[in-house]
């Protein structure tokens, strides 16, 4: 592979590229799903290819191919240069990259048990056990259990002398109970929605979740939701569980802090950002309880790696410090515009895509509260758990989220179960209303396996570390027809 990578770089250089990098990836995925006692999907997919990215006279070109050979490396490099020359015809300003010492090295996701070596029968049996426990609950319409693991063997080399190999493993699983009445559909997931919890690691991630042990309660909650009270409409204090805070972070902090969005590069698709450059070091993004970091070195996160897809070493940097907005997620190209160096946020879905600025692990730093103390400290409010729906405008101001389940909080105690919980707000006002974040005992690094961005569209696996948090005076109970 080293020869093929070298060939791609040599050809790019000889055809006029001032900079080139190549990535050769071998990707594998395994997916198992059980629904109502049947194994409804069992699949093992693999894909291999190379991509060559070049800068010619300050303009970008990229070409990728599923054939990994010296001849194809030549072809891709030549096509990438041809494309870059076409890019240069509609461009005023030449691209430059911020300085980066050339890295060499290798990195592998720490894990105990390779998920691809765990027997398939063991995986199916685990899901069938969870499925059986869910279906033991009367009134459940549909039980779904699934697991997925990904392996990405990556080689990165650049004309600046970088040569990096990595093996990244992501693993996870989850269960969903669906209950249906004539006018209602309710779902309850464990440990969270979007297929469950996913982490960097091996099969031990799935074993730790103990899906069968949580299956009955998950199904019981789904059925109970059908007859639960609806979330009231109005303004309320809310406590969000850590998994919901995680998605709130993802949508309202992670995306708007992507510097390519800020610069307008995503204006036609994913959108832009309200976190414009003059707001850095001046905007009160949140209350002093809110400190958020981008940390690709955090254990277990789906945004944990050794190097990003430009060869920048994994690092931790501040996005929001004690409520003040202080930093962006950056690439080599965008960081240079602010006189900064990249903080290593360039990630590509596969060999066939260019890297884009993506979230790594966007972590809300733990606060000081124990969850039970926070609930006890809340006189009147709603405790909302597990995301069910999510929507936010293209500059990341106006959002509306729904959760699978909630509870009334009355005089410091959890009360009746609530269904159809929704809340809406404007991002900086919402985070400035955050007056409490729970401590390490409630903190988890939640995986988001389905983050979309880019044209052509790319899907990325990111993570957000979060604990439960409290927000004051939030508009709740929008969307659903009241009284249902």
């Amino acid at each position: 592979m080293k020869d093929i990578a070298g060939r791609a770089l040599d050809t790019a250089r000889s055809r006029g590229a001032s900079y080139a990098d190549t990535r050769i990836n071998e990707e594998r995925t395994q997916f198992v799903e059980v629904k109502n006692g049947r194994v409804t999907a069992i699949a093992d997919t693999s894909s291999m290819g190379l991509g060559v990215r070049v800068l010619v006279d300050g303009a970008w070109g990229f070409c990728a191919s599923a054939e990994v050979s010296a001849a194809e490396a030549d072809r891709c490099a030549a096509v990438a240069v041809e494309i870059a020359r076409a890019s240069g015809k509609v461009r005023d300003k030449a691209t430059s990259l911020s300085h980066l010492p050339a890295a060499t090295g290798s990195w592998e996701t720490p894990h105990k048990t390779d998920p691809f070596l765990t027997p398939l029968s063991q995986k199916a049996d685990l899901l069938l056990a969870a499925d059986k426990a869910m279906r033991s609950v009367k009134g459940l319409k549909l039980a779904t259990s699934s697991m997925q693991c990904w392996e990405d063997k990556k080689l990165f080399a650049s004309t600046e002398g970088a040569y990096i190999t990595q093996r990244i493993l992501h693993t996870g699983a989850g269960i969903v109970g669906t209950a249906v009445s004539e006018d209602d559909i309710q779902v309850r997931s464990y440990p969270t929605s979007f297929g469950g919890q996913f982490e960097s690691g091996g099969y031990e991630v799935i074993e730790r979740l103990d899906l069968p042990g949580h299956a009955q309660k998950t199904a019981e909650d789904a059925v109970a939701l059908l007859t639960a009270k609806s979330c009231p409409a109005g303004r309320s204090t809310i406590i969000l569980d850590g998994s919901q805070v995680s998605l709130q972070l993802h949508e309202s902090c992670g995306h708007p802090s992507e510097l390519d969005r800020v610069m307008g590069w995503e204006a036609n698709y994913a959108g832009m950002s309200f976190l414009t450059p003059e707001k850095r070091n001046t905007l009160s993004y949140g209350s002093p309880a809110v400190s958020i970091v981008a940390d690709a070195t955090a254990p277990r996160g789906l945004g944990t790696f050794g190097f990003d897809d430009e060869g920048v070493p994994a690092q931790r940097s501040d996005l929001v410090k004690d409520g003040l907005f202080v930093g962006y997620l950056m690439s080599r190209e965008t960081a240079g515009g602010l006189g900064l160096a990249s903080n290593g946020a360039m990630r590509a879905e596969s060999w066939s895509h260019i890297p884009l600025i993506r979230m790594t692990n966007i972590n809300l730093l733990p606060g000081t509260w124990k969850l039970e103390d926070l609930i006890a400290d809340t006189k009147d409010g709603i405790y909302m758990l597990t995301n069910r729906s999510w929507s936010i405008d293209d500059k990341r101001y106006n959002f509306q989220f729904g959760t699978e389940m909630g509870y009334e909080i009355k005089n410091g105690k959890l009360g009746a179960m609530l269904k159809n919980c929704t809340y809406t707000g404007i991002t900086p006002r919402f985070w400035n209303s955050c007056d409490a974040v729970c401590n390490e005992s409630d903190w988890e690094i939640w995986g988001t396996p389905n983050c979309g961005k880019g044209q052509p569209s790319q899907t990325m696996r990111t993570a957000q570390g979060a604990a439960s948090a409290r927000y004051q005076d939030v508009q709740v109970g929008v969307g659903f027809r009241r009284g249902s």
């Binding site: 997916f31 799903e33 109502n36 049947r38 999907a41 069992i42 093992d44 997919t45 693999s46 894909s47 291999m48 290819g49 991509g51 303009a59 070109g61 990229f62 070409c63 599923a66 030549a78 990438a80 041809e82 494309i83 076409a86 890019s87 015809k89 509609v90 461009r91 398939l120 199916a124 319409k141 549909l142 249906v180 559909i185 307008g264 590069w265 204006a267 036609n268 698709y269 959108g271 066939s352 729906s389 929507s391 936010i392 405008d393 293209d394 500059k395 101001y397 106006n398 509306q400 159809n420 404007i426 979309g452 044209q455 052509p456 569209s457 899907t459 969307g479 659903f480 027809r481 249902s484």
Partner: protein, 454 residues
């Protein structure tokens, strides 16, 4: 120098030979799908090209059946050793999988209606041609001191399906898309067009349309949330209708009991003027003549004059209901079951202009954004307006308004549609790759629940 050869898609005979070689390695029944795509995309922002890519991908997806067990594996390598490994992986998957009594059998050989999907000019579009088309959009925008961002994509793709029961289906096609957002100081305008022949995109004209939207929506005023008469342009209607496809027109969701149609088939759910069919042969879609099981695509009426009429099937869901498959299987392992991929909403007799003229006070919506399901049983979704939202007063555009959040039932919107456009164009959804062809609509009492900051 053009270093790229022209069409590189695998020829029909070669595809058949390759898939036969895979099936010949399988111990029992099997289905093999060959997928190839050669796609290029030129992306621009801040009035210049900032990303410009081409990728050539290929893979074989194998579904191998042993009795009532199925395993799926895929590979992008086609040498003998890789194909042996592919079959071994699928066989292992199948053997370790418990029996699934619901598993449908493989369909038999079929003939396919012709569908002209391949346009050489699109397959061979060069980066220089794309750059020139982008330049024609950028230059007029620069002259107005505005900025534009967008993408122009062109490409060819191939789907070939074969199975051990005699199916062989082969469909090469091309697709192209132009989209752009023109941005003024405090407003924006957007267009998005799709065609198999990229020369029909007319990027210069589309750029002018987006520029005009940005110009007219300048200095947006905030109007309060509430119920308004709306004129929804074609893309906005398509964004809403797509959710009916994802949440209920597929037979599996109905069989599992969580479709919005459960208990409602045969009932009147929308206004009488609303008819929705799935039709891959409608020239405005980007459909293919067969599904991923090699079953010919059938035209399926889903809502006829407001009444819920039907569902789309693959072989597994069809077997459960004892009906023939309608040719709507997705790529295996396909846990979602069959889905409509080429929805077409019936047209009426109005134009956007006549709908605006017939609106005393209302909102014109270019597009919706970040739409998500809130209440699946009642088809309630939420989302935002974006890139061209206007106030209508006394039958005329009165200027731009700040973007607004809505919460609405799609079925209720279709029940409150007062006027329907006489033309319809395709909206293609990026991640699912399905198409909705929809006309514009004037809808009364559309429920806006919030306003954003811009």
């Amino acid at each position: 120098m053009n270093v790229e050869p022209a069409n590189t898609l695998l020829a029909e005979g070669e595809a058949q030979k390759l898939l036969k070689s895979v099936l010949g390695r399988c111990p029992e029944r099997a289905e093999a799908i060959y997928l190839e795509a050669d796609e290029a995309l030129t992306r621009f922002a801040l009035n210049g090209i900032h990303q410009n890519v081409r990728s050539r991908r290929r893979s074989i997806v194998l579904r191998l059946l042993i009795g009532k067990r199925a395993g799926v594996a895929s590979t992008s390598r086609f040498d003998a050793q890789a194909l042996d490994a592919l079959v071994e992986r699928a066989r292992t998957m199948a053997e370790l999988s418990p029996e699934n009594p619901d598993l449908g059998d493989l369909p038999g050989a079929a003939s396919y209606a012709p569908l002209a999907g391949y346009v050489e000019a699109t397959a061979e579009c060069s980066p220089e041609e794309r750059a020139e088309a982008v330049r024609q959009v950028v230059d007029p925008v620069k002259k107005q001191n505005m900025v534009v961002a967008g993408a122009l994509s062109t490409g060819s793709s191939l789907v070939a399906v074969a199975n051990t029961s005699g199916v062989f289906a082969y469909f090469p096609s091309t697709a192209s898309n132009f989209t752009c957002t023109v941005m003024a100081e405090d407003s924006s305008g957007w267009v998005d067009v799709h065609a198999r022949d990229w020369r029909k995109l007319d990027t210069a004209a589309q750029g002018r349309r987006a520029l005009e939207k940005a110009r007219v929506s300048a200095k947006p005023q905030a109007v309060p949330a509430g119920k308004y008469t709306v004129v929804l342009e074609e893309n906005a209607v398509a964004e809403l209708v797509a959710f009916l496809g994802w949440t209920g027109f597929g037979a599996q969701s109905y069989q599992e009991g969580h479709s919005f149609l459960n208990g409602r088939l045969g009932q009147k759910l929308t206004g009488e003027r609303v008819t929705i069919i799935d039709d891959a042969f409608d020239a405005r879609t980007l459909g293919m003549p067969f599904d991923f099981e090699g079953v010919p695509k059938k035209k399926v009426t889903l809502i006829e004059n407001g009444v819920a009429k039907g569902l789309v099937h693959d072989t597994t869901s069809a077997r459960k209901d004892n009906v023939p498959s309608t040719g709507h299987a997705l790529l295996p392992p396909n846990p979602e079951g069959p889905l409509p991929y080429d929805l077409v909403v019936g047209t009426g007799s109005d134009t956007v202009e006549s709908m605006i003229a017939a609106t005393e006070r209302g909102i014109l919506v270019t597009r919706f954004w970040y739409n998500r399901v809130v209440d699946p049983r009642n088809t309630v979704i939420t989302g935002m307006t974006r890139d061209g939202t206007f106030l209508i007063e006394n039958g005329k555009i009165a200027g731009g308004v700040r973007n607004m959040r809505y919460n609405e039932s799609v079925l209720d919107v279709l029940a409150r549609a007062e006027r329907i456009g006489k033309t319809a164009s395709p909206t293609v959804f990026d991640y699912t790759r399905n198409t909705v062809v929809a006309p514009a609509m004037q809808v009364r009492e559309f429920n806006f629940t919030g306003v954003t900051e811009f």
